[in-house]
Structure formats: structure tokens, C-alpha cells
Symmetry: D3
Subunit: 244 residues, 6 copies
Amino acid sequence: MKLLLINGNRTEAVTEAVLAEARAVAASGTEITALSAGFGANIVFSHAENTIAGHAVLDCLAHNYAGYDAVVLAISFDSALAGARELLPIPVLGITESALLTACQLGRRVGVVTVGQVSTGLYREVFERSGVMARIAAIGTVDLATAGEYLSPQEFDARVVAAAKRLVAHDQIDVVVACGAALAGVARRARDQLGIPLVDGIGAAVRQAEALVRGNYHPRARPPGPRASMAGVSPQLAALFARD
Amino acid sequence: MKLLLINGNRTEAVTEAVLAEARAVAASGTEITALSAGFGANIVFSHAENTIAGHAVLDCLAHNYAGYDAVVLAISFDSALAGARELLPIPVLGITESALLTACQLGRRVGVVTVGQVSTGLYREVFERSGVMARIAAIGTVDLATAGEYLSPQEFDARVVAAAKRLVAHDQIDVVVACGAALAGVARRARDQLGIPLVDGIGAAVRQAEALVRGNYHPRARPPGPRASMAGVSPQLAALFARD
Amino acid sequence: MKLLLINGNRTEAVTEAVLAEARAVAASGTEITALSAGFGANIVFSHAENTIAGHAVLDCLAHNYAGYDAVVLAISFDSALAGARELLPIPVLGITESALLTACQLGRRVGVVTVGQVSTGLYREVFERSGVMARIAAIGTVDLATAGEYLSPQEFDARVVAAAKRLVAHDQIDVVVACGAALAGVARRARDQLGIPLVDGIGAAVRQAEALVRGNYHPRARPPGPRASMAGVSPQLAALFARD
Amino acid sequence: MKLLLINGNRTEAVTEAVLAEARAVAASGTEITALSAGFGANIVFSHAENTIAGHAVLDCLAHNYAGYDAVVLAISFDSALAGARELLPIPVLGITESALLTACQLGRRVGVVTVGQVSTGLYREVFERSGVMARIAAIGTVDLATAGEYLSPQEFDARVVAAAKRLVAHDQIDVVVACGAALAGVARRARDQLGIPLVDGIGAAVRQAEALVRGNYHPRARPPGPRASMAGVSPQLAALFARD
Amino acid sequence: MKLLLINGNRTEAVTEAVLAEARAVAASGTEITALSAGFGANIVFSHAENTIAGHAVLDCLAHNYAGYDAVVLAISFDSALAGARELLPIPVLGITESALLTACQLGRRVGVVTVGQVSTGLYREVFERSGVMARIAAIGTVDLATAGEYLSPQEFDARVVAAAKRLVAHDQIDVVVACGAALAGVARRARDQLGIPLVDGIGAAVRQAEALVRGNYHPRARPPGPRASMAGVSPQLAALFARD
Amino acid sequence: MKLLLINGNRTEAVTEAVLAEARAVAASGTEITALSAGFGANIVFSHAENTIAGHAVLDCLAHNYAGYDAVVLAISFDSALAGARELLPIPVLGITESALLTACQLGRRVGVVTVGQVSTGLYREVFERSGVMARIAAIGTVDLATAGEYLSPQEFDARVVAAAKRLVAHDQIDVVVACGAALAGVARRARDQLGIPLVDGIGAAVRQAEALVRGNYHPRARPPGPRASMAGVSPQLAALFARD
């Protein structure tokens, strides 16, 4: 199967990191490509940046999805997830949603570690859209001094593990989700340090994508309502809306 | 005061209708301008179209907000509302949020009438983001056979009133909200037909905007997090993110 | 327009403070009168006192509402709000509900500062009745040593600001509501100290009342059910229930 | 033990009916007195009437509670329940809360039958305050053509049973609560007609009161906050607030 | 009346303690028997142990319920409560559910003290199944160093009281529930130490059982669905499922 | 990898059906065994039967899990899921939880079709434990006249499709979950009849199990709390609790 990763921001280093991790965890026979958003913020922290990332994700999909069996949105706010699912005839996965749903199958009480106090509100809405807030028993946050730090996941590993250990100690959680595209691979690297399962988004989403493709589900791939007349967007994106 | 209306879709007829209604209900001294989104769908029914509308709204704001005292997003999905609030130093209002909050002050049990079964899911999320789902006692929907019908609000008035009367009869509601930019003015036109207050988005939002401007509140107008490096968007929009 | 403020307790100093603030924020052309409850507690802290305040508010309204265009209940527990809305043919606003709904239009995550740990449970129910608990991200409380302190709002300003700053620092809120009739004006006085908008009840409610009156909504003004036979209450209040 | 019933409205026929039923179900050794509210509506259907009933209930309690071991508020809106609990050093029970809590011990899925569509909103709030909305699986309503009908419970029995049977057939409920002081005794009279338990408020509350008295619990009987200075209420009620 | 207590674990010391307490609080005329589960864990802390306890409870009931008027499940996880209610023609009570429902009648804001951080998740689900989470304002936990400590309730009394006092001081609660079969009697022993009511499970459940029996309710006592063909369970338990 | 399926009831025909379907959907290299519960009901419809099934599932696991990489509980009430996860060092999946979580990745609004009105309450609790109630937009039920019908899934296919089509038509759902072990394979057989994805439990759970095993997560496999002393259960089950 062929899997397309779309990074909703423009930081190539993150795109490369998620691609490397995706290839590390994929089944043999899964071919993976990763692309960065064509426009928008280098890193998304806010609703405003995420709004633009949503358009960029759809645009990138419109240009590139043909020939793929599934898409993973490699940005931890699952930007444009609902819209992408309406447009494409193939499964579309968000890394945070996938990680949360995977975690729900590994324990009853899910803990979550996020990066950046500044994104508290935005993450909260992503978790609520996932529908599993009732399973999230505790949320911890690792803060960062500079945007640059965000690109050094290895620095983050220890901090994520420390935050996760605090959740284990105080909140009786059974499993931890680490949110953040740049943290790709922490679940593999820190696997043995917690005593409970650690899930990251890329690992979860790649495996879920493989499962959905093998499930041979047929998403309804057309936005509801009358056919939209699109203007001022790329021809490829406009064409996605014009399909019968 | 100067008020800017942004229609998140590209249908000039809707933009003109909301402008006319806004001027009809505004206080003397309120100057109003209305603009259509520069790109995206002619009418928004789906998450996918709404995602693009979000970018279009922010872009339109970036080009045009200077000199205004407040902005009303004249699209019933309140597209990009959270992001616009992060970016602008002036109040930003969504017509559905404003109508719901106004209705909450007119009665305990709020009924809502929407247009288009196809948008059921999208409206549901808009209502939940508003935070007042606990006050919404019933939702009715008026369906439409063609997109063209959406542009004949006068045709809709009778149907909206009929749907509202059903909510009154069966659900003991105290007040009705009619959702949909194209329905602008139904609250004035059908005021005396229900026996309970009828609220539409434009009327509510224009008055709420005037109230907020007179309140002299100072929104924090900068997205949280490190300053984003924006690319591939209009210079005006990039500049909004680059401000200190 | 003519606006009537009803203070649900009997402390004239609070009534005078809310009247002064209401006049300070009202539009030109808004004439404001303020009255204290005719019976009940000097200050309301508890459910029991609030129950009596409810009757006192309705009684005061029955005697005085004629000739007014709207009523603001100037007590932070929004005492008798639902009942007053059933009885009067004009809009009735509660200062806490108005402040919360105003705040929802200024940011996604609302913080609230209340006065008095002793009223924690009562405030909680007021917030839940408002319907916007989903938007309230954090609640802080300023305590008071004596009832007398409650009448020195200027002493409170610094404490309210300090409590609000703690919410800003720890809870990523976008806007703060200060609850308490006696705090009237803190939003104006401390406007520039937080970096985010500060909303108080009197300011919000006066402006919302002006907006509703200009909206020309027609509340259904008769309690549901068969006409009640009232006894042992003032003739004016009994007459309100006997109307057709 | 000595039990005081307070009917929050002024209809003696209801007071007599609840007294007769209370005596029919009470344990030997339980002496019961019933009093009607001294002022307010003859029957309560609305928030406005219920607000006044709240004061009337507290006033009646203040005059009469001395010497009793517990109080039952014999009005299905549990009027002034929270306030009465703050004021009295003895247990205070509401008939609807007691019936719901009793029902929760007889089955997982609770059905509720209420009287009067007009009171839908008010009942909803009573149920939410009870805290057991999560156990209420379905609500049915028996309507009434005139207030007079409300005083003929025997007429209602068949209608309540019919409504309950609909809930049984369609909603898989395990137990039914019949709300309404005037329905006192329907649980006994119609016991064998449903195949599942039927609970009414008076029966449930009298037995719960006996259980609480035997439990020898000591309610904290003083409103929170500084001691209120009460004016314009009966000396007996003022004295309740002035206690140390 | 005759009341059967079933301890869902096999620790006779706990069974004896709950029996002694039940007899201490029961009405004259109530005869009480207590039995331990015939198989399973000596003490239940986890979902896994509780699953087995569920079967053991049903099995013990099948062997012994005949001739009793009501059953109390004397284990704080209310193990098998829903299933036992389906099977028996007499009321079945859980000690935690009974304590919570009793507490709801003694104050608005309920605090809960549990024993053992390790059971946090399991208790959470018990509370949610009770349906009264909306009334639980705060939860405190008393930890234990060894399982042996669990059998010395007298040691626990001081710790339970201390935890309850913390809830009183910080969370404005009106009433406390102490969860744990082994704590039987703490409500009597520590009654005067808190200033607010303290409820334990055995006291609450015995009195509730007496109230339900006197209420003469007739539970529907047959599991829903086609008659099950049971194998590999005790003949007594199989017979319960085979009844018409 | 080696996968163990445990049917929580004793109907071999269901066990064979789920095994056949599991093998039909499994990846090459996945070896699957299926076992029926050793005791309990032939079919589970009620809480009481499900309680016994829980013990039977744990017992069957204790005897058989060694050597397997993951376990799927092939009973639609996910019986003993929480307990099994505490006990085993390998992933344990429930078919309904897996189907719901899979569906959440295929659309925003999930519809569910269940079999048997009699199990409405039990299914409701299973859905709530899954944590995704917020994503379930509608529930439909297919009823059955006899238990025998339950064993003819082919008869059910048409009815499940019809129920699903009603949800599509009226509730704007994006994806359907068909609950019921006996329905295994309906997702494959009826794949093209709905226009939206159809998910059944066995298909979803087998693929999710493969994904979790490949994820190499390490569940914490020991019940919380002191080591239980087990008696009266099979030595194999007792040994699971006695492990260090």
C-alpha cells in the first residue's frame, strides 16, 4: 500500500522526522511519502495558524493524493481532518486522534503529554473533537523556551518521560499519549522507561492507516450539499469539489 | 463607530443582503462595510468548504480591518472565529454565536432553526463551540431543494416560521434563533408571527458589536506562541502574524 | 430608553454604586433608575438568602417596572431571573449571565473571579444555569474577612486583578469576568492592568440591555400554565400573575 | 419521630391528600403534620410562581419547624430545598429528589412521568439539580386541560399508568417515578399495573425522612457567609438567619 | 423484615464488621445475616478482582436469597449490582450507591473519601454508574501501606476524618461519604468530628433497604431477553436464570 | 503473530463464525484460535449474564493466553475488558470498542446498529465505557423474535442494512458500526450497499490487534493494589493474580 503523510506546517525538519519514523514503524510493503504544507506557518501554535494550515493541507492533498491508499495528517492539531475526510475517497487519519484511539485500547485511563502551554486551548478542542475526552484522565504539558527547541525532539524525550511519570504517579493512568509531530519516535525511544505503554502520533497513525486500508472501507468522498463553485483556489483543489 | 462585515463565501447577493440588514438595524452613527471572501466556495455547506472559508476570512480581514472598530463574520458557521480573535486588536463576532448568546438573554429554553440537513454535523459543532448547548432545547431544520433557493430568503421566511412554530408547540421553547446569513432580516420580518422572540444572526451580531465597542474592551491581539514565519500567504496576512 | 436596575439585596451603598457605574457606561439617551429590594438580606451569600431575594426582586419589579424598556437584576446570583422573564413583557438581564455571555464574545477560554469562598456552590449553580460552563476554563475566588469589606470595592480591585492574573498565568484564559454587584466598575478601573479584557456585570448588562431594547424583541410575558390565584403577596405582584 | 410536611402552594386539597398518603405509608411511631404555604400561588406551574413558593416555604418552616425531626417539602419542584437545608438543623427532603433517588435503587434506567407540558422546563431544572440526570432514560408527560383536573388525582391514575406503560414499551426502563404532589398515592394504587416498580414522591420522601432521622445525621444548619441582617420578613424567618 | 448482606470478598473479618454495624443501625424487627463470597479475592482492589467478585456475589445470592426481603451488597464497588437487580424479586442495594444517594439528601455538594489510590479508576466508574457525579464536588483518598491495614478500620477513622476535613476546608462541601466496607461504622464513631454529616455505606444501605421493603416495591425480577441456557455454574444460579 | 479469540458465551456456532471471519480478514502470518467460554450463558443479553461471562472470559484467558501475542474478546459487550487488560502482559481488545474506535477514523458522525431491544441498557453502558459517546450520533436497533434468529447472521444482514440506511437518511451519519458477535462479516458482505463505510467488530478488532502487536506496546500486566489471595477459582486464574 502507498501512504501519504502531509505535514500541515512548513518545517522540513519535522517532515523529515515524521517520514523517518513512519518508515521505521511501517509494515513491509508500505511505501511512504511525506510532504510539507505549501503555505502557512513554519510551526503551528494557535487557532489562527491552524486555520491557514487547514487550507494548506487540503490544497496539498488535492495536488498529491492520487495513487495513494491512505493519508496521515502529520500535525498534532489534526488540521482539516473533517474536511479532508469529506473530500477524499481514501481513509484520512490525524496523528492525535489515532494516538488517542490507540491508547484507549491499551488501558482505561489515558494520560496525555502536550508541548507548549500556549497551545492549551487548541489542544483541548482537538481532544474534544476526537470524542474520547471521557477517557482522558490527566493532561500534562512540557513547555519550551524557544521554537527552535521544538525541532530537537531528542531534547524533549527526557522531558516528555518526566511529565508522563508525573501523570503515572499522581493520576493512576494506564497509558500515555505524547502529542506533537516533532516528537515522532519518542514512543519507540522511551518505550521501556515508563512501565506503561507510551503512544506517539506517527506510530499510531501509520499502523491505523494500514489497518483501515486492509479493512477495505469505502469512505463517502464528496462534501455534503450542492456542488460548490470554487474560485481563487488551486485548480486541483477546485476540481476535488467539482467531482460527481 | 465603523463596522466591517465579512461574508465567508463568495455570493455577492448574500453579502448585499447582510449589508442591507446590518444597516437597517444599526444604531445611528454606525458605519458599515461588507465584503465577500476573496476565494473559496460560493456557498458553504461542508467542513471542507468551511476550512477554506476560514483562510479566506483571515485573508480578507488582514487586507481590510484597519480603521474599523469591530468585525462581524457574516457566515453562519462562524468560520475562523477563534483565529480572527487571536489576530485582531478589535472585537470579532460570529453571527451564530451572537444570536445564541442574545437568545440566552431572552429566555431559558432556546430553539434553533437551521437551513439544510446536509449541514447538520457542521452546525452541531458550531453550537458546541459556542458553549451554550446546555441552553439549546430543540433544533429544527428547513431543507432546500437547490442552492438557488438559498438565495431567496423571502421564500424561506414562511418555512422558518413554520419550523419555529413546531419547536414552540412541541418543545416548550422561549425563544428561537434562525441560523443562516441568507436569512438576514427574518427576525424583523417575522417578528410578530411567533408569539416568542425570534433572533437572527445579523441583527444580533451588529448590536453585540456596538455593545462591545462601547465597552472599550481590549482584546489581546496576537496569536499565542513564538512568532510564526508565514509563507505563501498574502503579505497582509503574513504581516498580521509578524506584529509584535 | 429607560432602564430599571433592581438590587436584590438591601444595601443602599451597593445600589448607589451600581447606579453610578450604570450611568457611567450607558449610552446617551439611556435613563437609569436603581432600586434596592424591599425586604430580605442586606447581602446575599447563601441559597437561603437568595431564595428570599428572588421574591423581593419580583415584588420590586411588580411595583416599578411600568414605563421601563428593560430591567437589569443587579445582584450577581441573577436572583429570580427565570421568573422575572416569565412575568415581564420587556427584556430582563442578570449581571452575571450578561457578563459571561459578553466574555464569550471576547475570547474562547473564559476565566471567572468571584468574591467569597462561602458562595462557591451558589455561584457554581448560577454559572451552570447560564449554560456556558463549557467555556469557563478556570474560576478564582477572592475571599473577604468581613461583610464590611464587601462594600469597599476599591479595596477589592487589587485583589480581583491579582486573582485574574493568576488565571492568566496558569490557565491560558483569554478574558476575565469579575462577579459581584459591589465590584461594579472594576472593568473600567482595571482595564489596562491585565493585558486581556476584563468584564464586570453592570457594564456588560447595561450594554446588553440597550442592545436588546434596540432589537425590539417581544418576550412572551406570561407564566406558562393556568392563571395562578395569588394570595398573601403584594397586590401589584398578584396583578402581574392575573394578567391575560 | 415527628415529621412536618410543607406544601409549597396554597391548595388545601393537595395538602390534605399528601397528608393522608404520608400517614398511610409512614412507620408506626411517625407523627405527621402538614401545612400549606402561607402565601403565593394556589398551584405552581412556572419559575415565577416557584420563586415565591420558595420564600413561602422558608417562612412556613421558620414558624413551624421547632419540635420536628425532619421536614418534607411536598411540592414536586422541591422549592427552596437548598435554602431550607442551609437553615434547619434537621433533614429536609424534596419529594421529587427523594423519588428519583429511591428509583435509582430499584433499577438502572429510570423513567419519569410529569404532569403538564407547561412545566417541562421547570421540571428539567429540578431533575438536573437532583444530580441523577444520567440515570433518567426517558421522560413522559401527562397533560391537563384545566387546573381543576390537577386536583382529581384519581382521574390521573389511569393517565399516569398509560404514560408509564409507553416508557416501558419504548425505552426499556426498569422503574418509573410519578412527579406531582397531587398524585400522592398513585404508587400504591397502581402498584400492580406496570410490572415494574412505580415510585411517587410522598411515599419515597416519608420513608427517606424516617431513614435519615434514624441515621442521626447532623446537618450543618447555618447559611454560609457572614450573618445576614434580614428585614421585611417575618420575625421567625429573620431569627433563623440570626442564629449563631 | 429479613435482610441479607453479601460481602463480595472472602475476608471474614470484614463480613463480621459489616454485620456488627448493620445490626447496630438496623431498626428493631430487622433480622440480618451476613455471608462472604464463596470464591474470589480476599480483598478487591482492581477491575479483574471485581469481575470475579461479581460472579461470586450472584452465586451467593442464588444459594441464599430465598426468604429474605432485601439484599445489601457489602462491598464498596457495588459488584454485580445491576445483574443482581435483574435476577431477584426483592430490592438489592449497593453500599456506595446507597451512601451517595443518602448524602444527596443531606446537602448539595457531596465530598467522597475513598481508600487506596490504586482503586481510583474503579471507584470513578462506580460513582459514574451511580448517576450522581454531578453532585460530587470533591474526592479525597486515604492510602494504605499494606492490605492488613485495611482490616483495622479503627486506624482508619482518624485518617478518614482528616481527609474529610481537607475536603470541608477547600471544597465547600456539605456532606461526606466514606467508601469502603471495612470502614463500616465510621459514620457513627466520628459523627461529631466534622461539623457536617458523615455517611458510610453500611449505615446508609441498611436504612435504605428498610425503606424500600416498607415501600413494597415489586422489582421486575427476570433478566431481559430470551431465557438463558446456563452451564458450568452452580445449579442454584442456573435456576435463577431459568425461572419464568 | 498469534491471536486468541475468546467468545464470552458458550454458543459454538458463534465461535465458529467469528473464527471464520477473523481468518478471512487477518493479515497473512496471523494465526488465529477461537475458544468459547467454559461456563455461563449460551447467549448474553443482560447484565446478569454478562457478569458471569466476565468471570468465564478471565478464566478462559488464564488457561489459554500463554503463547499468544494478543487477545480479542469476541462478545459485543466487551465483557471483562478492563479486568483482562489488568491481568495480561499482551494487548486485549473488545470487538465493540474496536469497531467504535475504527469508525471514529472513518467519519465524524458515527451511527450504531445493535441487535435486541432487550439489551438497550447494557449496550448503552458499553458505549459509555468506550469513551466515544460524543461521536455517536444515532443508535438503531434490529429486533429478533427468538434467540435462534441470532444465530442466522445471514438473515440479519438485510435487517442491519435497512436499519443502517434509516440512520443514513435521518441522522446524517458518516459511518455505521454493526454490534454483535454473531454478525461477524456483515461489514464485508454488505460493504457496497450503504454508500458509507460499515464496520463490524471482528474485522475491526483483528486489524486493531495486529496494529497493536506491531506497535510493540508493553501493557502493565498486574492488577493494582496488594497481591490478591484468590480462592475457589481455577488454579490457572489464581496464578494470574499471584504473579509478581
